[in-house]
């Protein structure tokens, strides 16, 4: 129900987002898709699963995939730190709502980003697959990635 609200940009062009850091980058997730943010819990590895969905965790009695999207953005694997959090999101995959826990190295804040600050995705200067990125927004002095979560996960 909350899924796919990434386009729910308000009349004034503002979008409520959760800012988080994964690897060296800052990502902005539409606050509407975030269900909760939890401390890391033991995960179970799933043999044969794709690298960015290599394990599952128990979130309130449901077994949900633990997504580590570092691999999708060409970042090296990293171990958990004191700041590591699991961001539990609900996202539409082929039209069905799916709950996923996303590994974040640090969760900053819930804030608003302005539609007007959108930057087009640079064609060069990145090895990222363009379909993974909805847009890049300038927030303060930083560039923030708004990922297309469905495409990144699936």
């Amino acid at each position: 129900m909350m899924a796919e609200t990434a386009e729910s940009v308000g009349q004034d062009g503002a979008l409520q987002v959760v800012m988080l850091r994964i690897g060296a980058e800052t990502f902005a997730l539409d606050a509407g898709m975030v269900r909760e943010i939890i401390d890391p819990i033991p995960a179970t590895r799933v043999a044969g699963a794709r690298a960015h969905l290599a394990s599952v965790v128990n979130v309130r009695g449901n077994v949900v995939p633990l997504a580590d999207i570092r691999e999708r953005f060409g970042m090296p694997q990293a171990v958990a730190t004191r700041d590591t959090r699991f961001v539990v999101i609900e996202v539409a995959i082929d039209g069905d709502p799916v709950v996923v826990a996303l590994v974040a190295d640090k969760v900053f804040e819930v804030t608003e980003i302005q539609f007007g600050e959108r930057q087009s995705v640079p064609k060069i200067g990145t090895s990222w697959r363009p379909e993974y990125i909805k847009t890049i927004v300038k927030f303060g002095e930083e560039f923030v990635i708004v990922p297309d979560v469905e495409k990144v996960l699936n």
Binding site: A49, N58, G61, V63, V64
Partner: protein, 672 residues
């Protein structure tokens, strides 16, 4: 909150009545002389008509009225319940269902066509080609013939009938529709205004009804009031005779047999004491929305998980009090789980009933007479399972009739009779249910299936295959050996879907055939989808669950086999069992346990060993499905949550056995 919308209630009730009507009509096709069946069908129709009108389904009421009118001739024995009549009645029943379920998209033309056919049949076969009578003035049936020009009625309702929503005045109006009435209220029961209960009925009525009306027609007016009314019926011309004992009918259901008129008082008196409506058995059942049951099952699943954690914690404590409470809760939650699962269990007969119609129609369309026999209808299965079994069984039954059973001419030429035989059976086998569809047809032709498989490139010519392996080609997508494509089957769509559905239910499917004597397709299914008995094992750091039903035995891995890679076979009591090393399959890290175990599992005819580091024991496994994002993972059929709160994966045994083990190990090694 469950919906109490009266329209929904009517729909549910009507659906049941229509099911009952269908079953009765099908029975009637086999036993056309049974008046009990005719009466049951008539009663179902009558109730649908009445409640349809009550809930504003006017088209249903109108159509059913005409249907009923025509069927009344059958009830009166004027028209035999022929096969044609049963067929048309079945179509009429389908039309009523359409009218109820989707009135907007149901064209009246269908109904008119059905009615025309019905009237034509009834008129054509009636000995007297008189116009079908309308309900208001049916001709006197033999036996219960009414010689009098009218009746004197005494009408005493139960006092609380108004609270049940019955309007006695409407019933009086219905009586007036039968003929001119003189209605006199009996006011002696009415108390003073101060003591008057406005919700209680204090009035009784004496009615003189003039007109040539049958007893049944009058009793039918009160059919919905049941035993809340005491109806005394006295023919007017008998009035003159000295004080006849008034006949009392408490029940408006038509008498099972046209009783001889002179003796009419006796059965009527009997009716006063006994409630004779057969479907009025006292049963304390509660309708519960299916979603609520699912929710209950989820909660119980969570409780079982929480309880497992409690047991684990309590096991570490020294406090005896905590331990005993934990044991108590363990016992209680196990019982609660069993009870909850029991609630969800439904006899499979409810599903089997649906196929009678299918067989009836197919047998008619294909011109192959078929006896349809069901066995083990009382076998109980989880209701979700039953719902999901419907489609696969439809396919299997269709196949059995279309491909399995030979044409009557061919059958007649052999030793079999012209009538084929389809047996649909269910039985409990251990913790599983075995559902089988058998026919006594020609059996499968392994050579032909093989030729087809080679033609389709599914197998290289000359590959040695067992018959069982050849039959498995039937489940390949797009596979069909039917020489002609019929409207029903032969398109090769279906069997692969059947297999997929059954495997989705964690079941397996087997084919057994005897050339010339028939084919049996057996489905083995778990009792429930929600909880299984599992065997918890450890592989490296990970823990996994194997369905206990698939586990045959556990043995220690002989020291000699710990490292060898060349031949992964075990010799178990002289039988060679290939085995898979789960450590390499799952890419486990760390040192292997010095005493690795082999768990021998079976699926179908195949046996295979799985090498694990440790066997942790039995585990009540509440099954959680894997996320859609893990749809590409085939090794695991689901996950469960262990006592410590972590997730463990459930190994899909069928997948492991079906896949070529050696190949898999190699694949994983290459990946690693």
């Amino acid at each position: 909150m469950s919906s109490l919308d009266p329209i929904d209630i009517f729909r549910t009730e009507a659906a049941e009545l229509l099911d009952c009507l269908e079953a009765t009509l099908l029975d009637l096709g086999e036993k056309p002389d049974s008046t009990a069946l005719i009466d049951t069908a008539f009663r179902a129709l009558h109730t649908i008509k009445g409640s349809g009108a009550m809930f504003g389904f006017d088209r249903v009421a109108a159509f059913t009225h005409d249907f009923e009118t025509a069927f009344d001739l059958v009830r009166q024995g004027k028209v035999p319940a022929s096969v044609e009549l049963v067929n048309v009645s079945l179509s009429a029943k389908d039309y009523i269902r359409m009218l109820i379920e989707d009135p907007d998209n149901t064209s009246a033309i269908i109904g008119e066509a059905v009615l025309d056919e019905l009237k034509h049949l009834v008129a054509g076969e009636a000995p007297k080609p008189s116009a079908p009578p309308v309900a208001s003035a049916p001709p006197a049936p033999q036996g219960t013939a009414v010689a009098s020009p009218g009746w004197r009625l005494g009408l005493v309702f139960e006092a609380d009938i108004l609270r049940n929503g019955t309007n006695p005045l409407a019933l009086l109006d219905d009586l007036r529709d039968l003929g001119p009435c003189q209605v006199v209220p009996r006011l002696d029961g009415v108390s003073d205004l101060a003591a008057l209960d406005p919700e209680a009925l204090a009035i009784a009525w004496d009615i003189t009804l003039n007109g040539d009306v049958s007893r049944e027609a009058i009793e039918d007016v009160f059919v919905f009031v049941g035993d809340e009314v005491t109806l005394t019926l006295t023919p007017l011309d008998v009035e003159a005779a000295p004080a006849p004992e008034p006949e009392t009918a408490t029940e408006a259901a038509p008498a099972a047999l046209p009783a001889p008129a002179p003796d009419a008082a006796a059965p009527a008196a009997e009716a006063r004491t006994g409630n004779r409506r057969p479907d009025d058995r006292p049963s304390a059942t509660v309708r519960v929305e299916a979603g609520r049951l699912d929710e209950l099952m989820d909660r119980v699943g969570e409780l079982v998980i929480a309880q497992a954690r409690l047991s684990q914690l309590a096991g570490l404590q020294t406090d005896v009090g905590i331990k005993s409470i934990s044991e108590e809760i363990e016992r209680l939650s196990a019982r609660l789980r069993d009870t909850t699962m029991g609630i969800r269990m439904v006899p499979i007969g409810s599903l089997f009933g649906r196929f009678r119609r299918l067989v009836h129609d197919l047998s008619r369309d294909l011109g192959k007479p078929v006896d349809f026999i069901t066995e083990g209808e009382e076998t109980e299965l989880d209701k979700t399972m039953i719902e999901r079994l419907a489609d696969p069984l439809v396919h299997l039954i269709r196949n059995a009739i279309d491909h399995g059973i030979e044409d009557p001419a061919r059958r007649g030429a052999g030793t079999k009779g012209p009538t084929g035989r389809i047996v649909l059976a269910a039985e409990h086998v251990g913790a599983q249910v075995l559902v089988s569809v058998s026919d006594d047809g020609a059996g499968l032709d392994a050579a032909r299936i093989r030729a087809k498989a080679e033609e389709k490139g599914l197998v290289a010519p000359g590959t040695p295959l067992t018959d069982q392996q050849i039959y498995q080609f039937l489940f390949a997508p797009g596979f069909s050996t039917a020489q002609e494509i019929s409207a029903l089957s032969g398109r090769g769509v279906g069997m692969d879907v059947v297999k997929k559905t059954i495997e989705g239910l964690r079941g397996s499917i087997d084919i057994a055939t005897v050339p010339g004597a028939g084919t049996t397709v057996s489905l083995r299914l778990p009792l429930t989808l929600a909880i299984i008995e599992g065997l918890l094992i450890r592989v490296g750091e990970g823990r996994y669950v194997l369905p206990l039903s698939a586990v045959e035995e556990c043995v220690e891995l002989p020291a000699a086999d710990r490292l060898t890679r060349g031949r992964d076979f075990l010799n178990i009591r002289g039988e060679l069992v290939p085995f898979l090393r789960l450590r390499s399959l799952f890419g486990a890290e760390g040192e292997p346990d010095p005493h690795q175990k082999v768990i021998v599992i079976a699926a179908g005819d195949a046996r295979i060993g799985l090498v694990a580091d440790q066997i942790n024991g039995k585990h009540q496994t509440v099954i959680k499905s894997l996320s859609k994002l893990h749809a590409d993972v085939t090794t695991f059929s689901g996950a469960t949550i262990l006592g410590d709160g972590t997730a463990a994966l459930i190994i899909d045994v069928g997948q492991l056995v079906a896949g070529d083990g050696a190949e898999r190990i190699q694949d994983f090694q290459e990946v690693a």
